[in-house]
Symmetry: C2
Subunit: 578 residues, 2 copies
Amino acid sequence: MTFLYDDPERFKDDVIDGFAAAYARYASRVPGASGFVRNGGPRQGKVSLVVGGGSGHYPSYAGIVGRGLADGCVLGDVFTSPSAEQVYRVARAADGGAGIVLAFGNYAGDRLNFAAARERLIAGGVDTRIVYVTDDIASAGPGEKDKRRGIAGTATVYKIGGAAADSGYDLDAVERVMAAANDATYSYGVAFGGCTLPGRKEPLFTVTDGQMEFGLGIHGEPGVRSAPWMPAADLATALVSSLLEERPASADGRVAVIVNGLGATKYEELLVLYGHVDRLLHEAGLTLVLPEVGELVTSLDMAGCSVSLTWLDDELEALWAAPVDTASLRRGAPSGFPSFEPVARADTDDHLEVGEAASTEVSRQAATTARQVLAAMTDAVIENEERLGRMDAVAGDGDHGTGMVRGMKAALSAAQRAEHSGIGSVLRAAGDAFGDRAGGTSGILWGILLTTVGVSLGDTEAVTPERLATALRDGAETVQRIGKAQVGDKTLLDALFPFVASLESAVAERRPVAQAWAQAADEAVRAAAATANLVAGIGRARPLAERSLGTPDPGAVSMGIVLTAAADALKASDTCNI
Amino acid sequence: MTFLYDDPERFKDDVIDGFAAAYARYASRVPGASGFVRNGGPRQGKVSLVVGGGSGHYPSYAGIVGRGLADGCVLGDVFTSPSAEQVYRVARAADGGAGIVLAFGNYAGDRLNFAAARERLIAGGVDTRIVYVTDDIASAGPGEKDKRRGIAGTATVYKIGGAAADSGYDLDAVERVMAAANDATYSYGVAFGGCTLPGRKEPLFTVTDGQMEFGLGIHGEPGVRSAPWMPAADLATALVSSLLEERPASADGRVAVIVNGLGATKYEELLVLYGHVDRLLHEAGLTLVLPEVGELVTSLDMAGCSVSLTWLDDELEALWAAPVDTASLRRGAPSGFPSFEPVARADTDDHLEVGEAASTEVSRQAATTARQVLAAMTDAVIENEERLGRMDAVAGDGDHGTGMVRGMKAALSAAQRAEHSGIGSVLRAAGDAFGDRAGGTSGILWGILLTTVGVSLGDTEAVTPERLATALRDGAETVQRIGKAQVGDKTLLDALFPFVASLESAVAERRPVAQAWAQAADEAVRAAAATANLVAGIGRARPLAERSLGTPDPGAVSMGIVLTAAADALKASDTCNI
């Protein structure tokens, strides 16, 4: 849906007013015309590139007026060619005396209007050439390139033409290089959903739910085939393989790539698609030059995307790479900062990479035990998932059980993946995964707890009972400091601190570690149950409204549950380390 | 809807793969972590800015890693804080030895994880500061700025901090200036519709149809109030007036402005809104510095937008304006092109502006007649709208009647608006409006016809019968040349050429102009009717399949109708000119 508008009839004019206000540093409005010229007007003796078409495709076309790209743009109503008179007026305003190239995507209305404007310009003594872009391979067969529509490939062709004009090419040369760029440019797109015109309730067109339309045009022109939704990897294969079929015989393997979004299909999605496109093009032996992933030619809020390839030679590559400075597309190294030298890095930094740090045999043995403990903890939260959920639903949103299960499962599989690591790296990987996946504050704090214990234990030294107790003390204190809660606030700390205290005492008494842990876990379970009796209002971590008297805190209870499961696993473990 | 994905569980990782492949020129992946550092790694002795948060907000945060902005970014799952471990790893990889600023929007999970990472960094000897952004005025009252969420204002605060770090500020100074930037930054947004997570069918949240939600958060956090849809002008007033209420006492009136789109609310819409925002801020006496209109902080495909103001002093202004070179935000004049001088323009160029060219009294009188003629033509197409539609429905899409009415109405009102112009400018304005509004090929050709006649008649000389006939001959030939049709192809030319020929003969015979025109119009009507008898297949303008034997061409018929109406108007006209 289009939501931001005033009078839909004046939409184009309002867009132009807004652009003129926002980007006066790039472009100036042409008086009496729906269009812009580059800020400061045309340049003496420079060929002028004037682009245009219907509105609704921003940043095409106002967003690409500026140094290194277009000298002027002319805008029609939404999805409607600008009139010949408008094209003529903007072109006159953009005329620098060295001739004009009028460029547009290949649509019937644009061809008529730009051709009529060209006649008027020539009659007035302005040498004017026309280049229309025909990149959409879905719209006509390979033998009929001249009949193809212009879609996102317009961005590459205009970029190359604009760079040529700003480099001082004469009119013949700009026309030649733009024609060459168009011959070298091939795009293929897919649509998932239609766009709505300003002021309308219904979309201009629709795509059946669960389907995608290959080759659907940027104004809803019919596609070439429907297909059920497919993963991004398969879609990339479909798009790229069709594009590669049209690789020109002369192409040496260098290619400019654009993955273009049509409006509602967003950057992250385009990046996912690009990852596959990049892989497929590399598999085809190609060299990718300055890819752009984003929105260069949109279609209001249409859902869909396209891939464009431009086969480069030395000249086209240099022009594609040339600097540009417009409201939307900017390239070129900024200057004006002091220069800093890169840091020479030691790649052995053991804080940096989990699993690749040096570990000792004794620490790797402890890691095996840790994996067994994590497996037992995971089983225990799975078994208690519903119970924890019910308990959390009394005062919270009821997701504590599912969050703990998600977190523990992620932690366990991360620990299993770090198969050759010491215990420190294993617990860091587990804590990292827990923190990333569990969600909620308790997920984050559990992640911090596991990671801190891992950092404390490290990857080299044996895990003595004393070191284990110290590591857990570190973990509990870090969680407390970061979470800013106190014992008695009805949080997991209410079970964790009694556990650590009891463990420390048992270790001081030289009890075997499994026994010490079991005793401490019992203490944690008792303390967790006791949170049901805590008086509300003394806590700082949670507002009063979220508390519930008479129910134990689910975070403390789950802490007790997993510590108990860990005790059982330690008892069963046959390693002497821990 | 989110359509491009593979395994939804791996969405973040796939996005990271894609970004790494596309933008290796800006950022490098941190091994073993969900994040990036600036290409080439950290710089010796430079403070490092590390930003981050959940995924789903691109270009935040990978898109803003690069020179003049962030040194590193860390990404969590969609709308989920990255874990402390991830933050720690990226920060270590981004460490240049002069300290690190960790910056993020104010959300509970991010605060916990970044704080935990900071502890680890400090424990490892890396001086680390935290700046969290609190710009969303909807999320807490003016007295509780520290509790506010971070939304699009993060972009300004990070930009300023990144420029400071790249300018050589030390750690204290970068922290200070970012805190000052945050204190000076206020945002307010509105949502129209929810986003869908990858792999889900239902949106994460919805906004009631026809309603908008002020203050709704970028992850669907509840808004502060609902309101019925309102035009962009009213929305701008609502947003800007709330922001101006919080203008800091110290602000001197300079302000950086961002109009940010959340995903599905597109550029043209944002520009429409910006036009009003710009006006309102100017009315408040403010000086706007380098506004940006676009997508800086998105929320997948959420529909909505926000306005952010950052109140600038000399230091903040310089940092906001400093060069930057990242995948998404780039600033700074490109170099490497030859320099061209601006063209010195004569502002009196009479081809450039309709209505402002010098006109004579005799031409202005002719313009009055032309307006009467256009009014009569408009009435005639309105009267025949349905009939023309039915005729067009036989072989076309049935919109010829509505298109002609829309075009003639637009032409007439443009002619009426050009009230002090000569006949040339009046007809050019009429043709321009016709071409812009009518739609379809006949709309374009009518636009070209009227404009060409206007150019031929000009704004100074009297319209003699001879000049009128010549102008119409020019018009008909231009339409033929541009449209590439021939007489006999069943187009409007089949009526227009006989009309012109007959008019020329009558003028040669010295008939009065009204009489000559009437005679020629009769000829046009006869010729239009005769198109029903034309044999299909001789035409070049339309494919055989679109023709229908036995039905007159609607374009030729409407030409006959309006020329006849014009004849009646000329007869009734009391001006001697024409």
